[in-house]
């Protein structure tokens, strides 16, 4: 059994997940929590946000995010792909910065037009 706090909404329900019972979940207050509990035990994933260098804009950093959640154990490898990126203004929010980071099939995109 694994104990978790559901992070889907700010209520933060305390969940118990039983992998040995076909990932049965206890303690959730809505269906999204049940799904979260199961996925968090099977394959936890996160959206990653960071910044990259940008030239010619108002600020020297441009915020970016992954366009889909990335497996938790891949986080550090995936952020490393941003190290040598340098954008040139203008960029539009949603522009792809790194494609298919580390073969995850997930792209980094900008989150601000600069």
């Amino acid at each position: 059994m694994t104990e978790l706090i559901c992070t889907v909404c700010p209520r933060g329900c305390h969940l118990k997940v039983y992998p040995e019972e076909n990932y049965r979940v206890e303690g959730h207050q809505c269906a999204r929590g049940e799904k979260y509990g199961q996925e968090e035990v099977k394959n936890p994933c996160r959206i990653i946000t960071s910044t990259v260098c940008i030239e010619g804009a108002e600020h020297p950093r441009c915020p970016v995010k992954t366009n889909a959640p990335v497996p938790k154990q891949m986080i550090f490898n995936v952020v490393k792909t941003l190290n040598n990126v340098c954008l040139r203004s203008p960029v539009k929010a949603g522009d792809i910065v790194v494609e298919n980071a580390c073969g995850t099939g997930v792209d980094f995109i900008t989150t601000r037009s600069m």
Binding site: L4, C6, P10, R11, C13, Q29, R46, F76
Partner: protein
């Protein structure tokens, strides 16, 4: 000097100011000016590059800049004027604003209504009185956030975070991803002040230890931080001798609370609530000075921007109603103050477990509607009941599974209930919380069902 009188001036161009201006514009007010001291709109959201904004309002998970840009884009299609790089240095109770900017120098602006949306600022090291040297390497968490996310500076290699507020937690993850080592997050209270999701996604995910009931009792090193001593504290928050631990680090981030930014409000003689640090407001978000409204973090610290947006739209609507009323009646007969001794108001009283409510009072001269009451509890409650009482009778009760001071709660007092109170002549309504006895766990609740946010999404 001739001063043009605008319909509405909004002070601050963060999410609160943007939503307030837009909603007033949608209500038909056309002459609106937003005054913002920064060189861009968006407020604190520009530095909050993490996701988690807008789940409630837009039903999707956005980053801070994305959330801000939705409103900035809408504003572009309106006639709302924006004065950037312009700081309001004084506000008077007859709604005169003294502003300075490098382009126009010193100016006086006037308005029929003003909305305060100045946000809040961080509590610095001084008020918490941590002993030790005064080296470089100590930042407030939000300051570090701005350096790292916007200005591209690295703040340090080995960090300890004091306080477990959301900004501190977010920065623990941020610094870790930037290659720094975050050695500990130290919290003086026996619980975290941050959202559960941030504890999980910012600390647990990166194995960063959270020391509850601990504080930093000494900062070492000069001219740069070299380490901190942390100690456990007792129930009265006094350090317990013998529990000291030394942690070597070169950076300390303080995430020890936010203070609503109300210097301007005080200058305009607006009554401030000592519990929230923000203006006392009625259900229309009007302050004690008629025609001056307030919304967002300047009223009370919000943990979710979505609630800031809802509250601010309401403030914009109320301000619009006032402006349009002045235009149609061309008299100022709507002047009255909610804090007058004989004002026609119902006070919201904080009962057991409640540290504050917003609004603080209900103005009976304003058209009544269902009223959303935001509040925080002063400690953690498990399964519990929120009681709304007047006189000796209970008007309403709400069930919650868990209440913590770190998460703002909301209840709705409906119009019928309010009318009942008025007809019985009550001038006070008390909100309180009691924890349900453990045995009640399986009992069927006959009261109204609590809809969880997850279901709404």
């Amino acid at each position: 000097m001739h001063v043009k009188i605008h319909d509405l001036i909004v002070i601050g161009g963060g999410p609160a100011g943007l939503a307030a201006a837009l909603s007033a514009w949608e209500c038909g007010v056309k002459d609106i000016v937003i005054v913002e001291r920064d060189k861009e709109l968006g407020g604190i959201l520009n530095q909050c590059i993490h996701n988690g904004f807008g789940l409630h309002y837009f039903k999707e998970e956005l980053t801070g800049p994305e959330y801000a840009s939705r409103f900035i884009d809408m504003l572009r299609d309106s006639s709302v004027q924006v004065k950037l790089d312009t700081m309001v240095i004084e506000l008077t109770d007859d709604k005169e604003l003294h502003v300075v900017s490098s382009t126009n120098g010193y100016e006086i602006l006037k308005a029929k209504a003003v909305i305060l949306a100045m946000g809040c600022r961080e509590r610095p090291r001084g008020p918490i009185g941590t002993p030790g040297t005064r080296p470089s390497g100590i930042f407030t968490a939000g300051q570090a956030q701005r350096y790292v996310n916007m200005e591209g500076y690295h703040v340090g290699r080995k960090a300890v975070i004091l306080g477990s507020g959301d900004i501190g937690l977010i920065m623990a993850r941020r610094l870790t991803l930037e290659g720094s080592e975050v050695l500990a997050c130290v919290e003086i209270m026996p619980y975290s002040g941050g959202l559960a999701r941030n504890i999980v996604q910012c600390l647990h995910d990166y194995d960063i230890p959270l020391y509850l009931s601990h504080t930093i009792t000494q900062i070492h090193g000069y001219p740069r931080v070299e380490g901190v001593t942390i100690s456990e504290v007792d129930d009265n928050r006094n350090p317990i001798p013998g529990t000291e631990q030394y942690i070597e680090c070169d950076t300390v981030l303080l995430s020890v609370g936010l203070i609503p930014e109300n210097e301007l409000s005080k200058g305009a003689n607006i009554a401030i609530d000592s519990r929230t640090g923000g203006p006392i407001v009625n259900q229309s978000l009007e302050t004690s000075v008629e025609g001056i409204f307030a919304c967002g973090n300047v009223v009370h610290v919000h943990d979710l921007v979505d609630y800031v947006t809802y509250e601010s739209s309401e403030a914009g609507k109320s301000a619009a109603q006032r402006i349009l009323k002045i235009a149609s009646s061309n008299s100022a007969d709507i002047t009255h103050s909610i804090t007058d001794e004989n004002a026609d108001v119902i006070q919201l009283i904080n009962g057991n477990g409640i540290s504050y409510t917003v609004p603080q009072l209900i103005d009976l001269k304003v058209k009544l509607h269902n009223i959303e009451v935001f509040f925080r509890t002063n400690r953690i409650f498990g399964k519990s009941t929120i009681h709304v009482k007047a006189g000796n009778s209970e008007l309403k009760r709400f069930k919650r599974v868990r209440l913590t001071p770190g998460e703002m709660e909301k209840i709705v007092i409906d119009e019928d209930t309010l009318r009942q109170c008025i007809s019985k002549g009550f001038d006070e309504i008390e909100v309180s919380v009691t924890e349900d006895p453990a045995s009640e766990e399986n009992v069927h609740f006959p009261v109204e069902k609590t809809v969880t946010l997850g279901e709404v999404l």
